[in-house]
């Protein structure tokens, strides 16, 4: 009997609300379970609508319609939105993601998940990694659809041959590149005039200028080395064989003369602060060298730096920036330059609306030209874009001759592989550059890291 009294006393101390919480939780749980049983993915509706849209890949007639899902990075978001606006018959779902930037493996993990569960693939993906289509076309991913028949043939023929070659895997073209990303020398003409410097034409002149700047105008820079793609700017231009396919092997020779001489050229400049190991897109860089500080004298970099970097990110004032031809090594010919990006558009072979997918990609690469940051790969559009740039009063002088001239100079000795090399550069080299180590001492670890990555991806490596 005592027990009951005790429990009654205990019971009276607790307030009712806890029961209310419990019962409402139970109600929620039941409601959720019921709704969850109703299924969650909307792939069902997509396929029923797409059934009415043409599924034939060769059909070019009829306006695009139906459902489309496109994955873009933040820079390509305006393109996707513009397409949706111009094509009201297409119900476009836009998903913003990291674009697989800086060597991320986001798309690999996502495509695996979709493959495993048998559903969920977006119809179109834009990737910032130019090597993504290489593995997307192969097992076990098998995501990419051949573009022939989806993008009209007469358009496809107007992409430059090297660009098409980068999208061709085992003889079939699996993507189209959105833009060319040839490296040129960006020049702050106003500052160069003010300081009385001539624009360098060779790497040697550029390095000598760096030494001068360090003593005469400390704080000003002539380049940077801390981006995840800086090796594409300097080592690709310099013909360093870090990623060269020879039959089924990949040649990684980071101590080749081409690599060591470029590293020796860069080391004193990194040390004296004219080529700092920072990334141009970090807030720290903008604070130190951008905006009112305006300390960027020269910058070897890709064509899309034009407005995206100088205007949008660094807020360099108008009337200062122009472009010059890429630097050459003494008097060596042919002149080669590097490539930073050139993002491909890839269409899914699982798409239920290939007609609209092809239409989207075609429109995005051949029609859209509204504040486009990149040099279009599609030649006729490139001409219009260049004209727009030439007329743009932001620049001190017309940058287009250099951009156009450099378009065909990208060194072909750097091939596309299935693994990203940016992370290896970032965590073997850049971290040590920040700590003050010279680049020359980091070439061996860079080669080792790339070799590991290649082997992990299944390649046979030739270190020479």
């Amino acid at each position: 009997m005592r027990g009951f009294e005790g429990s009654a006393a205990v019971r009276s101390r607790w307030r009712r609300p806890s029961w209310t919480i419990l019962t409402s939780l139970a109600v929620i749980a039941i409601a959720v379970t019921v709704s969850a049983c109703g299924g969650s993915s909307d792939s069902g509706s997509t396929s029923s609508q797409a059934a009415t849209a043409s599924k034939s890949s060769s059909a070019k007639s009829g306006p695009a319609s139906g459902d489309l899902t496109v994955w873009v990075d933040s820079v390509r978001l305006p393109v996707a939105k513009a397409y949706a606006k111009a094509h009201p018959n297409v119900h476009l779902k836009i998903v913003t993601f990291d674009g697989d930037a800086n060597g991320a493996t986001t798309l690999q993990t996502k495509i695996q998940l979709w493959n495993r569960s048998g559903k969920g693939w977006p119809d179109i993906i834009f990737s910032e990694q130019v090597n993504d289509p290489v593995w997307m076309a192969k097992k076990p991913f098998e995501y990419a659809a051949p573009v022939k028949g989806l993008v009209p043939d007469n358009a496809l023929s107007q992409w430059p041959a090297p660009s098409t070659a980068q999208c061709t895997i085992d003889g079939t073209q699996y993507c189209v590149q959105d833009n060319l990303a040839q490296v040129v020398l960006w020049v702050n003409q106003k500052l160069m005039h003010r300081f009385g410097y001539d624009v360098p034409t060779t790497w040697q002149e550029w390095a000598a200028l760096g030494q001068k700047v360090a003593t005469e105008h400390p704080g000003y820079i002539i380049g940077n080395s801390g981006d995840s793609f800086s090796h594409w700017v300097y080592l690709w231009s310099g013909q360093c064989p870090l990623q060269q396919l020879k039959s089924d092997k990949v040649v990684i020779n980071s101590t080749d003369g081409h690599c060591t001489r470029m590293a020796s050229l860069l080391d004193p400049l990194i040390k004296n602060g004219t080529v700092p190991p920072l990334s141009v897109f970090t807030p720290d860089f903008a604070k130190k060298y951008g905006g009112a500080k305006d300390k960027v004298l020269l910058m070897p970099g890709p064509s899309w730096y034009a407005t995206a970097l100088f205007h949008d990110t660094l807020h360099i004032p108008a009337g200062q920036i122009t472009a010059a031809m890429p630097l050459k090594w003494e008097s060596e010919t042919p002149v080669t330059t590097g490539q930073v990006g050139g993002g491909p558009w890839i269409i899914s072979r699982h798409s239920k609306n290939l007609n609209a997918a092809g239409d989207f990609v075609t429109w995005a690469t051949t029609v859209f030209n509204d504040n486009r940051p990149g040099y279009p790969a599609y030649a006729p559009l490139a001409d219009r874009w260049l004209q727009g740039l030439a007329d743009d009063s932001y620049f001190a002088a017309d940058p287009t001759p250099a951009l156009k001239g450099a378009a065909n100079l990208i060194w072909k000795g750097w091939n596309l592989v299935t693994y990203p090399d940016q992370p290896v550069w970032s965590n073997t080299v850049v971290t040590k550059l920040v700590a003050g180590k010279p680049l020359s001492s980091l070439l061996q670890p860079l080669g080792d890291g790339l070799a590991h990555a290649a082997e992990a991806a299944g390649y046979q490596v030739d270190r020479q």
Binding site: M1, R2, G3, F4, G6, S7, V10, R11, W14, S18, I21, L22, L25, I28, A29, V32, T33, A36, S40, S41, D73, S74, V75, R76, L77, P78, I94, V95, T96, F97, D98, G99, A101, N102, A104, T106, K110, L113, W114, R116, S117, K119, G120, E128, N179, A181, F229, S279, F281, P283, K287, W304, A308, L309, D312, T313, G341, G343, P373, G374
Partner: protein, 290 residues
């Protein structure tokens, strides 16, 4: 001498208090400032409410209001899973504490073992399991694994074993109650402290869980808010500038990220505050000094 010791104690406590609180204070104040003000102004200055509404506008506009979807997902997962946890763990704790069935000790040991196993290491097999049941892509793929919360069972077991005398239950049985009635009439009402505890731990664990949803959810509109935050981080210029441009069109900079983080923690902060008492009182099952 004694006041020096007291003073020292206060200083040490204050230093740690600053360490714990300053970042949170910064976080609360950050959305009131513009990105520029964050960099140039004092870290603890207050900007304006207008800035907060601007930041919210940008955040909400990202990817078609996906931020709201993420918060909704987290609420769905956390509440559903916690409801199931309460429904299974409290009776299980009771059964383990007072039961006499064969294998009781084994079950307890297994629960303890699984409890200290790194949960993340089990995500891969759970994924393969869920995939073979064709659940990948459904919300159940997240809710069901979340509903397994051995710590909740253990808490309930400890509570029943230490704070509820068996005599109470025997008295109920003497009165003619069957097992179920004994539980419902006696054991369950007494369980209110541990219910609050289990609710708290389960909800917080589900809300903060990152690895499982990150690994098995392919559709970003099904992400809970924690994974959504990392998605936001990687899709926006502040920390992940895109090649081919700065991506400024997306309009998510540091104030927006700070606001997103703040909103992401508000539900669990509320649960925290409400559960303060239950935690202090019920956790150790002993007398509380104050």
């Amino acid at each position: 001498m004694r006041s020096v010791a007291l003073g020292l104690r206060l200083v040490i406590l204050a230093v740690f208090a600053v360490f714990f609180v300053a970042p949170v204070l910064w976080l609360i104040l950050a959305p009131t400032k513009s990105d520029h003000a964050l960099v140039t102004g004092s870290p603890f200055s207050f900007g304006s409410f207008h800035q907060v509404s601007l930041a919210w506008k940008h955040l909400d506009a990202f990817s078609d209001h996906i931020f709201r979807t993420w918060i909704g997902n987290s609420l769905l997962y956390a509440f559903s899973a916690t409801a199931i946890v309460l429904a299974t763990a409290i009776p299980a704790g009771y059964g383990l504490a007072f039961g006499t069935f064969p294998g009781r000790k084994l079950l307890l040991t297994l629960t303890l073992i699984v409890m200290i196993m790194p949960a993340a290491a089990l995500v891969l097999p759970i994924f393969l399991e869920l995939n073979s049941l064709h659940l990948i892509g459904s919300v159940l793929a997240v809710i069901l694994p979340f509903s397994f919360f051995p710590f909740g069972v253990y808490l309930a077991y400890i509570y029943y074993a230490t704070a509820v005398p068996p005599d109470l239950l025997d008295a109920a049985r003497t009165d003619g109650c069957g097992e179920w009635l004994t539980f419902r009439r006696v054991a369950l009402p007494l369980a209110k402290p541990v219910v609050a505890l289990v609710f708290f731990f389960s909800f917080v664990a589900d809300w903060n869980n990152f690895f499982l949803p990150y690994a098995i959810i392919a559709d970003s509109s099904q992400y809970p808010i924690q994974v959504g935050l990392s998605d936001l981080l990687s899709s926006t210029p502040s920390f992940n500038p895109a090649q081919g441009g700065g991506g400024q069109q997306v309009n998510i900079f540091r104030p927006e990220l700070a606001l997103a983080t703040l909103i992401a923690v508000i539900p669990v902060a509320i649960v925290f505050l409400l559960s303060q008492r239950a935690l202090v009182r019920g956790l150790v099952g002993g007398a509380v000094k104050e």
